[in-house]
């Protein structure tokens, strides 16, 4: 019974937050609605005994990514409400929800049809004994079977950081002047 209550409450958080992201015209409100959705997903992770992922979800998503969003919004000063009448593609505004309903109908129908045919092998594979069983099991999987992919993610993060620094850098005035003097086109 308590499971159902938790599920419904967390699902309401997720869906209300998602609707807020879409419908709020102010980007700051949209970002705060995103936090609500991410916390709801974290609650679902906890109830599915994925404790490590729940912690990472809160720390990385709600803690880092949303703060990054808010930081960029404040930095650029685009926290004014959007004027909805100057939309360049008015038709897309009405067709978009239609596509969303279509996606929901299609995926939902597939899930409901497949429900009766899903072969559940066993529920015993996940170790739930002990307070840190999930973390241990995930670490064993990550550092044995997927250790190469894990190392590659560090390369990915380094590339992302270097690329972003290059993108967001203002062009160096002194360097540009020196180049123009030397006749090198930038």
């Amino acid at each position: 019974m308590i499971e159902i209550i938790v599920f419904i409450a967390a699902s309401l958080m997720v869906l209300v937050g998602a609707l807020g992201v879409i419908l709020r015209t102010n980007p700051v409100h949209a970002a705060l609605s995103l936090v609500l959705t991410l916390f709801g997903v974290a609650v679902h992770f906890v109830s599915m005994e994925a404790h490590f992922l729940a912690a990472v979800q809160v720390i990385v998503y709600a803690g880092a990514i949303v703060v990054l969003f808010l930081f960029v919004i404040m930095l650029l000063g685009v926290d004014k409400a959007e004027d909805l009448r100057t939309e360049p593609m008015l038709r897309q505004r009405y067709l978009g929800p239609l596509v969303g309903v279509g996606v929901l109908g299609l995926v939902g129908a597939a899930i409901l049809v497949a429900r009766s045919r899903t072969i559940v092998k066993s529920v015993e594979g996940l170790d739930t004994v002990g307070h840190d069983a999930n973390v241990k099991q995930l670490a064993r999987s990550l550092f044995s079977d997927y250790v190469f992919a894990f190392e590659l993610t560090s390369v990915l993060l380094v590339i992302a950081v270097v690329g972003t620094v290059l993108l967001a850098r203002r062009p160096n005035k002194g360097l540009q002047a020196a180049r123009e003097k030397a006749g090198v086109s930038s």
């Binding site: 499971e3 599920f7 699902s11 997720v14 869906l15 998602a18 609707l19 992201v21 879409i22 980007p27 949209a30 995103l34 991410l38 997903v41 679902h44 992770f45 599915m48 005994e49 994925a50 992922l53 990472v56 990385v60 998503y61 880092a64 990054l68 969003f69 960029v72 650029l76 000063g77 685009v78 360049p88 593609m89 067709l95 978009g96 596509v99 969303g100 309903v101 996606v103 929901l104 995926v107 899930i111 899903t118 559940v120 092998k121 066993s122 594979g125 996940l126 099991q137 999987s141 990550l142 992919a149 993610t153 993060l157 590339i159 992302a160 950081v161 690329g163 972003t164 993108l167 967001a168």
Partner: protein, 105 residues
């Protein structure tokens, strides 16, 4: 009618489908590049949710390992995407996603 006895994986999958559809709608409807990024995050979260639901159903930790990698890629994607947004909006503060079509052939 879904059985009301306990929370089955189907419930989680339906919730994930709804979340994905909402994110999809958001990307199509909104023209602010920042909000479009947030909607992409919604879709990634929907997929993460279904990965964890399947991981629990089949008793296999690999679903959760995949979610870990999705989180890393999402973080990298946001960093690069926001870098591009900052670079564009610094020049044209009122740009929306449809104005950025200079590379169109």
């Amino acid at each position: 009618m879904i059985a009301v006895a306990n929370v089955t994986p189907t419930w989680y999958l339906l919730l994930a489908a709804a979340l994905f559809a909402l994110g999809c709608t958001g990307v199509l409807v909104r023209r602010n590049p920042l909000v479009m990024f947030m909607c992409i995050e919604l879709m990634l979260n929907a997929v993460n949710l279904s990965f964890v639901a399947f991981s629990r159903t089949y008793g296999d930790i690999k679903g959760q390992t995949t979610v870990f990698f999705v989180l890393v890629v999402a973080a990298a994607e946001v960093v690069v995407g926001l870098g591009i947004v900052v670079a564009i909006l610094r020049r044209r503060p009122s740009a929306n996603a449809d104005d950025i079509a200079e590379l169109k052939g």
